[in-house]
């Protein structure tokens, strides 16, 4: 074996040593050039790690109240335990830093669950509609048209307010509640888990249309290409054609849409919780923390900054990463 390579001319051996640059490394290189996206990725990674390590990093219990006076300023030392309230204490004496960490975990988990579920649902419906046309397509298209011609935010608010005031209205399988509860470290007593799950379901129901429309358009343009024809002539069935040929070719815009829908889900959840028709206290989210903060901001002006800054960092971060991915994945899409 060794002799076969050894007797080749040295020059030709050198030629084939460097592999051609793969698609993903090109994408990575282009993405790295987007400075704001790289900064966002770093900031979001920090927030993400902090939220993962919430139970370890948090100096106090999530709902534990301390005897420190309400709205003690940042860096107040707790008289009982000697631990420092890094960001101070909220309106009932709970540690702000602790609640911020748990809220990060809940808010980010909701955003990721909603974006993932909505994108998958939209992709499936869009792909089916675009690939099979006919009755499936017209049903999906009618639903999309209907969703486009209704004012979605007010309806979202109405449905959320009805379902969330009575979270037991929807029958959830217990294992789903357990997954949600363990992921977001929720109390198993009370309706906390059902409320968060309701939020995910409601936002998903309103969030899938963009992905569906995108996917349908992509499938419609891809399905007429020659390589689909050749795949079919080689004996591939519909499922294989969709999963192995159509979906990968529609990937770039979907990845971008997914990142942007993360930002959308995050701001939607924050807005609902802020307006009082979302996840309610004592379950901490940035939205309901901001709601309480604005009630007390006339006397304690620093308080709204605590939940406000992470909201805006994440919202901007997801947007910038989406923008960076758009530039990296498909330069033609550049704004």
């Amino acid at each position: 074996m060794a002799s076969t390579t050894a007797d080749l001319p040295a020059a030709s051996r050198g030629l084939n040593l460097r592999k051609p640059e793969g698609q993903w490394s090109i994408v990575l290189r282009r993405f790295r050039r987007h400075r704001l996206a790289m900064i966002s990725l770093f900031v979001l990674a920090m927030i993400f790690i902090a939220s993962l390590l919430a139970p370890i990093l948090a100096p106090f219990g999530r709902d534990a109240t301390s005897l420190a006076p309400r709205f003690s300023p940042p860096l107040t030392v707790n008289a009982q335990t000697g631990t420092t309230h890094i960001l101070g204490v909220d309106h009932v004496g709970r540690d702000f830093f602790t609640r911020l960490l748990y809220a990060a975990r809940i808010t980010l988990s909701v955003a990721f669950s909603v974006a993932t579920a909505a994108t998958l649902l939209g992709m499936t419906l869009g792909a089916l509609a675009g690939y099979f046309r006919g009755i499936v397509d017209s049903i999906v298209m009618r639903i999309l048209e209907f969703m486009a011609s209704i004012p979605d935010f007010p309806i979202l608010l109405i449905i959320a307010s009805i379902l969330i005031t009575d979270p037991k209205l929807l029958p959830y399988p217990p294992f789903l509640l357990d997954i949600i509860g363990n992921l977001m470290l929720l109390n198993s007593v009370g309706a906390e888990r059902a409320q968060v799950l309701t939020m995910i379901v409601v936002l998903t129901l309103f969030g899938w249309t963009g992905a569906a429309r995108l996917m349908r358009g992509m499938v419609l343009s891809v399905r007429e290409r020659d390589f689909i024809e050749s795949a079919r002539s080689l004996g591939a069935n519909n499922a294989r054609i969709i999963l192995r040929h159509v979906v990968p070719n529609s990937f770039p815009p979907l990845v971008v849409a997914y990142t942007l829908s993360l930002a959308g889900a995050l701001t939607a959840e924050t807005a609902l919780s802020f307006l009082g028709v979302g996840i309610t206290d004592p379950t901490p989210t940035w939205g309901n923390m901001l709601q309480f903060a604005t009630n007390f901001m006339l006397t304690n002006p620093w308080v709204p900054l605590i939940p406000g800054i992470p909201v805006v960092l994440c919202s901007l971060g997801f947007n910038f990463i989406g923008d960076g991915l758009r530039d990296a994945l498909d330069p033609r899409l550049k704004m």
Binding site: L36, F146, S149, I150, P151, F153, P154, I155, L157, I158, I159, S161, I162, T165, D166, L169, A263, T267, T270, A271, F274, L275, G276, V277, G287, L290, A293, T294, M297, L298, P301, P304, L305, G308, V311, V312, S315, L316, N319, F320, D323, M335
Partner: protein, 396 residues
């Protein structure tokens, strides 16, 4: 064109009917209505008084079956037994049940019938009941919680002016700023100006109004006030009493100056947010047009650049803009729910969110129906405008 219009109008009416039925079904199944409020009021002291429960059920039609309730809500009928030519039709048709339970009906001829209702309601019983004129005549009934017994339409009309002012002003400002900025960005693509405003637009659209609003209050209302600088009000549309602001002097409560003073912060927040979208739209639309052949032709025949940009490019770039303008219609009415909440702005968006938190569903449904109708009309208007500004497009 006429055919198209008729077809679209039929679709609008159908959609409005579907939405109104769906929203009514929501209203029907929603928890936290007047009965539950009564129960929660009374549970601390005594059990709900059966007479009072019946009175409330009658007042809000809670005892009627959903079909009858929907009809009364939609068109304001039936009101008692139907009289045709002096003859009562079906006065004994059961339309609801005041008190569930088993009961026996004993007929004069000795027949006994078992029914599932202890106190049935018949068509003739609806005679003296208060009823709205129906949603069709824009009578949305009366508020149940926020302002007891006040007509919803009155509640909405008092909130209309502040919302129109806020939304109209911020949309107008956003467009006025976005058009020149977008055009200049496109003409000088990749220049420092373009880069700056594209990034600014990105920040504007990426930051929720929730955050910018709260930060605006923090900086311009609280910190400025503490520093003794001229500050802006944190909430409401006008002051309760006269205020003296540093360097500016007295502002009388309720005067024009006072109102403008209250408008500055919320309008700025909304303008900054919507500016991003408009600018980006104008810029990309303009970039698209600048690549067209007729722009090159215009340049080639020696027209000065200003004419090429303003007459040949901009006019064509504004065509798709028309579709966006139509989308503004429902938001002008609906207001910015979040911004109005942050600034306690006495507008329709704030009314809507208050009605949801208080489970005052007639108000919420009225808001929803009007917004839906305006959205549908907006689509129609934009389609029609499209054919007017762009003769290449024909509706069929």
């Amino acid at each position: 064109m006429l055919n198209y219009l008729i077809r679209r109008l039929v679709v609008i009416v159908m959609m409005a009917f579907i939405i109104s039925f769906a929203s009514f079904a929501l209203l029907y199944s929603a928890p936290g209505g007047p009965l539950e409020q009564l129960a929660s009021l009374q549970s601390t002291t005594r059990r709900p008084d059966p007479d009072e429960v019946e009175r409330i059920m009658k007042r809000y039609d809670l005892d009627l079956t959903i079909g009858v309730r929907f009809l009364r809500w939609l068109v304001g009928h039936p009101r008692g037994s139907i009289v045709v030519g002096g003859q009562e039709i079906a006065p004994n048709l059961q339309v609801g049940c005041l008190k569930p339970g088993k009961a026996q009906l004993v007929y004069p001829d000795g027949r006994i019938e078992e029914i599932d209702c202890a106190k049935p309601v018949y068509l003739r019983d609806l005679g003296g009941r208060p009823v709205s004129n129906g949603v069709i005549t824009l009578d949305f009934g009366r508020s149940q919680q926020l302002a007891r017994e006040q007509p919803v339409s009155q509640l909405i009309s008092t909130r209309l002016a502040p919302t129109l002012l806020l939304m109209g002003l911020s949309t107008f400002l956003a467009i006025i700023i976005a058009v020149p900025v977008g055009v200049y960005s496109a003409v000088k693509q990749y220049s420092r100006f373009d880069y700056f405003f594209t990034t600014l637009a990105f920040f504007g659209s990426g930051m929720p109004t929730l955050f910018t609003g709260v930060m605006g209050i923090l900086i311009f209302a609280l910190i400025f006030k503490n520093l003794g600088l001229p500050y802006l009000p944190a909430a409401l549309a006008e002051s309760n009493r006269d205020v003296v602001i540093p360097l500016f002097g007295l502002i009388q409560a309720g005067s024009v100056g006072d109102r403008i003073w209250h408008l500055i912060l919320p309008v700025s927040v909304l303008t900054f947010f919507s500016l991003a979208g408009w600018t980006r739209f104008i810029r990309s639309s303009m970039l698209e047009v600048l690549r067209q052949d007729y722009v090159r032709t215009a340049r080639a025949k020696g027209l000065i650049e200003r004419v090429v940009i303003m007459k040949h490019a901009l006019r064509n770039a504004l065509i798709p803009f028309v579709t966006l303008l139509a989308g503004v219609l429902p938001t002008l009415f609906g207001g910015a729910i979040i911004t109005e909440s942050v600034f306690s702005w006495p507008g329709i968006g704030k009314l809507f969110i208050n009605s949801l938190v208080a489970s005052d569903y007639p108000v919420a449904i009225a808001y929803l129906l009007i917004s839906t109708f305006l959205t549908l009309v907006g689509f129609l208007v934009s389609d029609v405008l499209y054919t007017i500004v762009d003769p290449r497009i024909r509706m069929s």
